[in-house]
Amino acid sequence: MPAKSQQGAQSVSVALVGSGGAGVMTAGTILLDAAAKAGWYGLMTRSVGPQIRGGESAALLRLSTTPVECHGDSFDVLIAVDWQNFTRFAKEVPLSAHSVVLADPAAGAPPATVVDIGLQIIDVPMQEILKKVAGGRPNMLALGLAAAVLGVPDDIVTKVVERRLGKKGGEALESSLQSVQAGRAAAPALDGRFTLAPAADATATRWLMSGNQAAGLGALRGGVRFVAAYPITPATEVLEWMAPRLTKLGGALVQAEDELASINMIIGASFGGVPSLTATSGPGYSLMAESIGLAVAAEVPIVVVNVMRGGPSTGIATKSEQADLNIAVYGLHGDAPHVVVAPTSIGDCAVTSQWAVHLAEKLQTPAIVLSDQFLGQAQAVLSPPVDTGEGPDRLINAAPQAPAARYEVTESGVSPMTIPGVAGGQYISESLTHNIRGRPSTLADDHLAQIEKRQRKLSTFDYGERWADIDGDGPIAIISWGSCCAPIREAISRLNGGGKDLRLISLRLISPVQPERMAEALNGVKRALIIEQSHSGQLYRYLRAYYDLPKDTQCYHRPGPLAFTPGEIRDQIARMQ
């Protein structure tokens, strides 16, 4: 049930469902955009069926007076244009006895599972109403209904519809606007139960973006100017967002023939001196493993964004899971230390990917960004993620003395690099075990010296405070990462007393481990709970391998595809308290 005050609700969840492809998604996007303009924050995810096009789909929105990055325990309002295949994604649209359903009786009776909840079902004769609108659109009618119920101002909705659908031309636009109005007119009076309160900082700048776009932006901010990639769900939008923008920045994106090519193309480009990135998901990441190891051994900076989806194998391409932690951390043959970072929120995809570029360049190593489908494909209205100002700070030897010692053993472990074109700096970037000059060697001493150097540069680097976000200082620590962080934050804030006995550690730096910082972060902690979306508890096992965790450490983990809800997590925490 939405918290309701005199000023209206703090947050409201609305699901727009209906078959026929993009219809409800368009309505949802307009609603989200309008809400942003009206000063609210918000989140929209989509649920699609197996059909490539035209199958069932649902736009799942949550609008809020404060920043919001997860859905609630149940949806307040469900607007069903039709019920086609609703059962397929019913679990993604949890409803409660307090929910309200607006549905067209002409589209058939609501499914028994919905009726049985005992919620309020209000008939809205949508098809009937639309008969009166020339070219009437059910999705726009649903938009009008939702806007009315939530109290999103008319003029703002109209403006957004005009901007977004304007290119469709006069008549189409006109019937859309009329459908919206018809929806508004048909909306039932619900005592303002779902009307949103005004946002506290309604005039502050808001951005509407997905995590995948944010990751692209962060990479460009960090200095990436070359991308090679092979399309894969749910990472393709990172690439499709970057492609046209790179050409405007003087960079380039090459669609490679496969992931083996894309990873090697970026290694080549980075060897040439240009900060480079690829984006993929589990199956593609697996194919890149051998050559990520090459970048480790040859010490070539690269960034690989893995937007995790359900696994194993082809798995569930359109849904989220956090089960690629193992392969990201441990998935290279030989001893091959490298950097793994993970965004802690949708907006943080920008900050974390910018940081990844910086770390890769600074440490001359691959940096893996482990995002996930939820973060990547959710659309959010959020405060603009900061530009950290960090760029590709590569240690370059601009005036080399021959013979070049490309792999010189230095105290920091970082060896100055020369860039092709510069005389006297020639060297071979080498995949074989090599000596300081990059000459192949099978000597134990050379092998050890280079292996130690590569470990040292990672272990001794000062990653600063950004390794994790730490909230609270209670004796019970929750450790988590990625898209799990948002529902955990909400669960904590809901707990009695604002969860004062809790402390949340949202990890951003997964590898290398930070034992000292963790010890400090766990100072005073008696019990710990690790929360993650994997069946085998990958994060828990990893932390256990490398950190000294409190004796009483538990792990709550389960696979995808369903996202965690704040309520589900609150129950887990309550059990600890």
Binding site: D33, L217, L249, L260, N264, G268, A298, P440
Partner: protein, 280 residues
């Protein structure tokens, strides 16, 4: 003499491209002559070593980068063309030469070969073809004849050999030549032309493996210059190559497709300009 730091100041000599690393190659291996031809070609082109990126895979032949004074990359097995494409797209100012063996290029690397031909980046790809996996001690490669006996394929593979030049033409290579390592001067000359030619140039160099294919020492007796001039008609070139005896040496095709360059927009912007699109 410190070759590396003075190379840019004077006319280049073949010796300026030779490093102090002793090759791992067997005495008599054809790859020594390929190295020599490469040095001669670079010298004739006058490109200083630091402007050349020599990118290789894994195999005996792929060791060649270490033996030059160029910038180089000794990557993983089969991916040299992808590495080289990345270098060239990011750094169009460099002369990019990709080199390796028949196993590296046509077996594990076959897909990149197809797509590099098609994509047509301005680089030169040299395959030292000895019809065997030398480095791993004598297994059949895609160019091995089907009857050749080996431990891994007793009685021969029974598989029809891969025809690199035909595939190169069919997939769009812009320059196609065949050389013999036993003729380093001729090879050097062909390499000069290949490197000068815009787009993807493919040069197959027959380079005997004296250890695992000692019978290849006889190649010297059977190679012969191509009887006709290079054509610019891919179909004609393909027909000629399909019917030749595989020992026809020379430039066989010169095309005129423009090299691959990723699109660039006229208007340049700054990253900050992108942020506006997210504002609501």
């Amino acid at each position: 003499m410190n070759v590396e730091s003075t190379a840019a100041l004077k006319a280049c000599m073949p010796a300026d491209y030779k490093s102090d690393v002793k090759p791992v190659w067997c005495p008599g291996c054809g790859d020594y002559s390929v190295l020599l031809a490469m040095q001669k070609a670079f010298a004739e082109l006058g490109t200083p070593p630091e402007k050349i990126a020599l990118i290789t895979g894994i195999g005996c032949s792929s060791r060649i980068a270490s033996y030059t004074t160029c910038y180089g990359f000794h990557g993983v097995h089969g991916r040299a063309l992808a590495l080289g494409t990345g270098v060239k797209v990011a750094r169009p100012d460099l002369t990019v030469v990709v080199a390796g063996g028949d196993g590296d290029g046509f077996s594990i690397g076959g897909n990149h070969f197809l797509h590099a031909c098609r994509r047509n980046p301005d680089l030169t790809y040299i395959v030292m073809d000895n019809q065997v996996y030398g480095m791993t001690k004598g297994q059949p490669s895609p160019t091995t004849d089907p009857e050749w006996q080996s431990a891994l394929a007793p009685g021969g593979t029974g598989i029809r050999p891969f025809h690199p030049l035909v595939i190169a033409l069919a997939s769009g290579a812009n320059f196609v030549a065949r050389c013999f390592s036993g003729d380093p001067n001729g090879t050097a000359q062909t390499l000069v032309e290949a490197i000068r030619h815009p787009g993807f140039s493919f040069v197959q160099i027959l380079s005997p493996c004296v250890t695992f294919r000692p019978e290849q020492k006889e190649w010297r007796k059977v190679v012969h210059p191509a009887p006709v001039e290079a054509t610019d008609d891919p179909a004609r070139a393909a027909r000629r190559i399909m019917s030749d005896d595989n020992f026809n040496i020379g430039i066989l095709y010169r095309g005129s497709r423009p090299p691959y360059r990723p699109k660039q927009s006229e208007t340049k912007i700054a990253v900050a300009d992108l942020e506006r699109e997210f504002a609501t």
